[in-house]
Point group: C2
Chain length 355, copies 2
């Protein structure tokens, strides 16, 4: 497959490729990184993402410079979040849906937000081999999630990876989460469309998803609508449609859709792609698309500020000394939480004022 | 009514009452405040709440001392949050439900979280006269919401008022919100039970409530189930029951209930009271009640800390100078939000280090 596409690579990419072969493992300059990314070279893209994921300050510095230069070329993709509990069939869905998208000419990047603490609970992208077809698709780029770190850190890394993928020419991004942790809100804050994958089942089986997620969904897709399961999938779809009807209108004005599909039999996939197209036409028409992107950029600025203010506070040695006792007193109604908070704050501000 | 109950007042309360008459408008000592509150004197309770609501530092200091002394006597009530859109009939519901509760021997306090910005959108407690029966009930205490302030400030004041009401012997607290703003999460974080009041109606009329609120509810009550409306109310109840069925289990293990009632005809009220009793028996049995109270106390400590860290940052003069421009650049993809955040943070920490 690669051979067929080789002639389409531009000269810059080819020369970078040769350069890389010759300088395997050697550091690239920032200009070389940017040139490689903008020419769509995946090897260089991957190396840049590795810099983003690195916690070494020098790597971070290089990464930030690369991101800054790529920023003007980013933003031109549709960012789609996909979540669902373990067992909902996320990997086969992404495989089916993704290969359909590339068959229609899309350039697809698949990422995951999946902080290490949540990993054991059902990540798929750590295991690329479960998406064999997509993994060998020349128009798809799959990047397993950063291997460790706090949700804040992982979210930042994922968002920066999105920017580089866009600069590298990917026009459709799928960002996967596990659907059982804290990461859905983070994903929701970096995508344009949020898809919740569910499976049909009797009562309790429908209930695996975390509270609050259903209300974020722009579409709910009932997967595994095949064989004996079709009837149950259709019933589940009706239930969800009725439930969504009770929810207040979305900010975008879009009415969340409920679809069924079989990732295995590849049925219902076209309809989901059409639903996405309808959505993007709708939100680009009413300007919600741009507004949300702007709001998200601002959100991440403030989110970063607030996370750092908090970590600076809770890592302070005086705070660390006192907080456990105060928490205990607060819990036992020995002290008003507001008073306890003020005590800690006073100590904190005094101590950082000294430095 | 007051005359009948007068013999039940203890001597301390009577002497405080005489004292107050003699010293109308004069400052009380902290000991006098506490004695008055603990003896159940509402006039003194109201004056203490006024101190809590005051922004004058000296009042705040006195208030905090009163709260500290009353803390050991607080906590022994059932705290019930009630929300619903304007028009759902919150005031008549609280009137009916409240008078039923006091008729069964409960001592009831009714408060509201209702930051001024949200006030115009349907507050009821600013207008006590709409609950005439309850307002003249010797076993009920109605306190209109603080007249102004940020959500954080109002939430703190409401939570501190809860503590004093409990110390004054009120065993059941209703805390009302408007259901259209930001205050529901705050209320949810200070109550034991969250009741969502809805009305029946065709499609869209059901949708007034803010996203996310339905998933917080321990009970949904369809109000105005009377006259021609009974059938519609029952249909709405069925719809909500089906919808709740799709939600994941609650942390408490409690299955949220859907009830119908008529505040006007006073039907269905006993069943709601029974539902609350069942809930409290359930969560006290599985220890969730205590766990949640502890978690809430901790939450308010951390919430206060984080709010203050943020306000300190955003009020900083250097931050104020730069933030608008950076936000604009972030919004226009001129600068990575993470870089913008770090720029501001660096300036901020340098500037407070100087003081």
């Amino acid at each position: 497959m690669w051979v067929i596409h080789l002639p389409r690579l531009n000269l810059a990419a080819v020369s970078v490729h040769r350069f890389l072969k010759k300088n395997q493992g050697k550091e690239l300059t920032i200009a070389q990184y940017c040139e490689g990314i903008l020419s769509g070279n995946r090897t260089i893209l991957s190396r840049a993402v590795t810099l983003i994921e690195s916690n070494i300050p020098e790597h971070q510095k290089t990464a930030q410079e690369i991101i800054s230069r790529c920023l003007p070329f980013s933003g031109k993709s549709l960012r789609i979040g996909i979540t669902g509990v373990p067992g909902a069939g996320k990997s086969t869905f992404i495989e089916s849906f993704g290969t359909y998208l590339t068959s229609t000419g899309k350039k697809l990047a698949v990422l995951a937000i999946d902080p290490s603490s949540e990993r054991s609970r059902g990540s798929i992208l750590g295991d690329k081999t479960r998406m064999e077809e997509l993994a060998s698709d020349p128009n798809a780029y799959i990047r397993p999630s950063p291997s460790s770190g706090s949700l804040g850190g992982v979210a930042r890394k994922t968002r920066e990876t999105i920017l580089l993928c866009e600069a590298a020419g990917f026009d459709t991004l799928l960002i996967e989460t596990v659907g059982v942790g804290q990461s859905e809100t983070a994903v929701h804050s970096m995508v344009d469309f949020f898809l919740l994958l569910q499976i049909a089942g009797a009562g309790d089986e429908l209930q695996g998803i975390k509270r609050g997620i259903m209300e974020m969904a722009d579409a709910i897709v009932i997967n595994k609508a095949d064989g004996d399961n079709i009837h149950r999938a259709n019933s589940a779809a009706t239930l969800f449609r009725n439930a969504l009807h009770l929810f207040p209108p979305t900010l975008s004005g879009w009415i969340p859709q409920v679809k069924t599909c079989s990732s295995l039999c590849k049925t219902g996939i076209t309809e989901i792609a059409q639903c996405l197209e309808d959505y993007f036409e709708f939100v680009k028409g009413n300007n919600y698309f741009e507004e949300r992107r702007s709001a998200q950029a601002k959100f991440w600025m403030h989110e970063t500020i607030e996370a750092r203010l908090k970590s600076n506070f809770y890592q302070n040695s005086l705070v660390k000394t006192d907080i456990a006792l105060l928490e205990k007193e607060v819990t036992n109604d020995k002290i008003n939480p507001f008073i306890a908070a003020n005590e800690l704050l006073e100590k904190y501000f005094k101590s950082i004022g000294k430095h």
